[in-house]
Subunit: 408 residues, 2 copies
């Protein structure tokens, strides 16, 4: 059951001129579900992407990077669920290319202008023929107002479709930013999340767009974890169609701050949605680590807390078993950490002060915070000014059930 | 339910002359259970220890290291369960010292010759008064033949007591090695396990003993994980009483190889017992990583597999969802890993070859291995000659239940 999360609503999602989306039921893994998404981009659109750092990166990720690096402006993206096309070797690359070629024929471009994405089971052959057979239906469905349906088409173990949208004013003109994402398990993005697609109608040169994307990815998709497993298929894409007529051609340009802020808000909302719908999640947990020497050590400690099965099961039980959080801070790998300076807050409650239990702490106060569906853990290291915020969920019976039964 | 593991049997455990063990029910956390162990060492015994690398190391660990470093030969060890005395600051150190002083008075030595150990809930004040009140009963119970009872006294969430024993012949004389351990959750030892005590009646100088212990720890307690959480209280101690009259005073000495082998066997058996009784475990899993450049990268990859909740839930479900293992290999942090050279075996079945699914692999063969209670995963990196073996268990509903309800 997702934590405070509603499915994507068409009426809340602003279309982005220059981006059309079409959906098909291609029976990739199971019949009767939306499982192929075709995205057509208007000529002149720029695209930026960040991808998984997993050494076993999937065939579509390899192809995506290659096509982006070619310098050609992408004209289409194609996404299938049900099969990740990862751990499939050269045969997987061939199949991904076959899909690109079929998409190219359908939308009228070259296969190098098509970016492929896959998500689902790892190490099984991609049924390229079924995906290709679904393309005519997806093409017939292409519409700018299709974001909510697109969000549904990319779901796997997600229980709720995920989308976010913003409008910002730049010099009297309106710029739109709309995005979708999927992901629920195998979530510990390293450069990007499972699949995230954000588009804007601003005009942004590819280099500027790529830099903006990397900054935003770090604060959004790279700051979440469900289970610490970095997927083979993580991809986070940002498209700028330019259809609004608003040009944002550098960091110093008018409108850059507004655009960055809108992209950041949409991306954080999508990343948080993945956590709210984390496999088996019953709690949405924000981990803030402050007073560190640098952001890297704050993130190390934050992720140690967020990955600990002991901490996560305590949250599931609404049990303020806070010693487990101290233990995680202690083994996070910050070798010279002086624990006698560490403070720990649960919500607003000071639980541990100077590395030991706060004498004034009463378990009732901790219990009251633990009953909430949304909880903030705050660690103050008192050794510098850096900080990091990340988001995770608890670890429930349901997580085990979902992942024990995933392929059945 | 532990995997192929029987409780410690008194008749299988050889006493070690020079080591007497006494047990008490002190009501540290709950009434009516053995929760204090007193160990008296004969004069002249040498002791070596390795301890947790967790920065939040517990008060007894701090004191233990200090007493060992003083150069005095320890005369007693005292262990309580029910309370870890970790995350307790200066007050925790005071209470641990009070217990040492009481033990010193009971056995007739100085407090600096007593080594304290605690295990249980973190960040709660140690009830030193109750432990001290239990010491007379423990003292009255001191016997050399008490190893099985001692193994019971140090259990927390363990469902089965853990002990192992060997006799080896050295130059016509018999040397005994006997040990006990506890641990079931918060298991990812980093230098040592939760609590492990091994004793021998060989005579070994403290420096030699310490080196032997560190080597053996690396291959036993430092090669297991249940949940990836490194405890605040990990301690692994090796005692040599010399009572057998057999002197082993260096690596080149007669009997060193035999003694090392016996200590290693006892330690690995104890470490494996912890995994067989891992919280909620239904499967005992051996992870072998071979063909690496060095042992460190083999361990990195092995632990990435052993820590992945997705891999562990798949084992629980007996589902050969092997793509999850490839994904874990890929994100383990070996940056220059060439995945196209990686082979993966499940038992004797070649599942993935050269980084992709083995075309000859049939799911039936994987399923047959997965039904077994003991499973070996073998990863061949094909880039060197180093290897590492480690042991873990699966991730079940029961794990979540145990840890959600731990303090209730």
């Amino acid at each position: 059951m997702p934590v405070n999360l509603q499915p994507a609503q068409p009426e809340h999602l602003f279309p982005v001129a220059g981006v059309d989306l079409g959906i098909a039921m291609a029976g990739v893994r199971k019949a009767g579900r939306k499982d192929v998404l075709l995205v057509r981009l208007a000529p002149g659109a720029t695209v930026a992407g960040v991808f998984t750092q997993n050494r076993f990166c999937a065939a579509p990720v390899i192809l995506c990077k290659k096509h982006l690096a070619s310098g050609k402006a992408p004209r289409a993206m194609v996404v299938n669920t049900g099969n990740a096309n990862a751990g499939t070797g050269d045969d997987g690359l061939k199949r991904a290319l076959q899909v690109c070629e079929a998409v190219a024929a359908a939308v009228g471009c070259s296969s190098g202008e098509v970016l492929p994405f896959s998500t689902g089971v790892i190490m099984e052959p991609l049924p390229a023929d079924r995906i290709i057979a679904g393309l005519p239906a997806a093409k017939a469905d292409l519409r700018a107002a299709n974001w909510a349906s697109a969000a549904e088409a990319i779901m796997t173990t997600d229980t709720v479709s995920k989308a976010a949208s913003r409008k910002v004013q730049v010099g009297g003109r309106t710029v739109t930013v709309t995005g979708i994402a999927k992901g629920s398990g195998m979530i510990h993005p390293d450069m990007a999340t499972m699949l995230g697609f954000v588009a804007t109608d601003a005009a942004v040169p590819a280099g500027v767009l790529q830099e903006l994307l990397q900054e935003v990815a770090d604060e959004s998709f790279n700051s979440i974890t469900v289970d610490g497993d970095t997927s083979t298929n993580d991809s986070f894409m940002l498209v700028a169609t330019g259809a609004s007529g608003v040009k944002v051609d550098g960091k110093a340009a008018a409108g850059y701050a507004e655009l960055r802020s809108a992209v950041r808000e949409v991306s954080i909302q999508l990343a948080q949605a993945i956590i709210r719908d984390g496999e088996g999640a019953t709690k949405f947990i924000t981990v803030k680590v402050e007073g560190g020497r640098d952001r890297a050590e704050c993130r190390k400690i934050g992720f140690a807390i967020a990955h600990s099965p002991l901490v996560k099961t305590a949250f599931f039980a609404s049990d303020p078993n806070l010693g487990r959080i101290l233990a995680a801070i202690g083994y996070a790998g910050v070798a010279d950490l002086d624990t006698s300076r560490v403070d720990l807050y649960l919500g607003d409650v000071l639980v541990a002060a100077q590395g030991g239990r706060n004498p004034a702490y009463r378990e009732d106060a901790g219990n009251a915070v633990m009953q909430q569906p949304e909880i903030t853990v705050r660690v103050v290291l008192n050794r510098g000014t850096a900080s990091a915020t990340l988001w995770t969920c608890d670890f429930s019976f349901e997580y085990v059930k979902i992942n024990a039964e995933y392929r059945t």
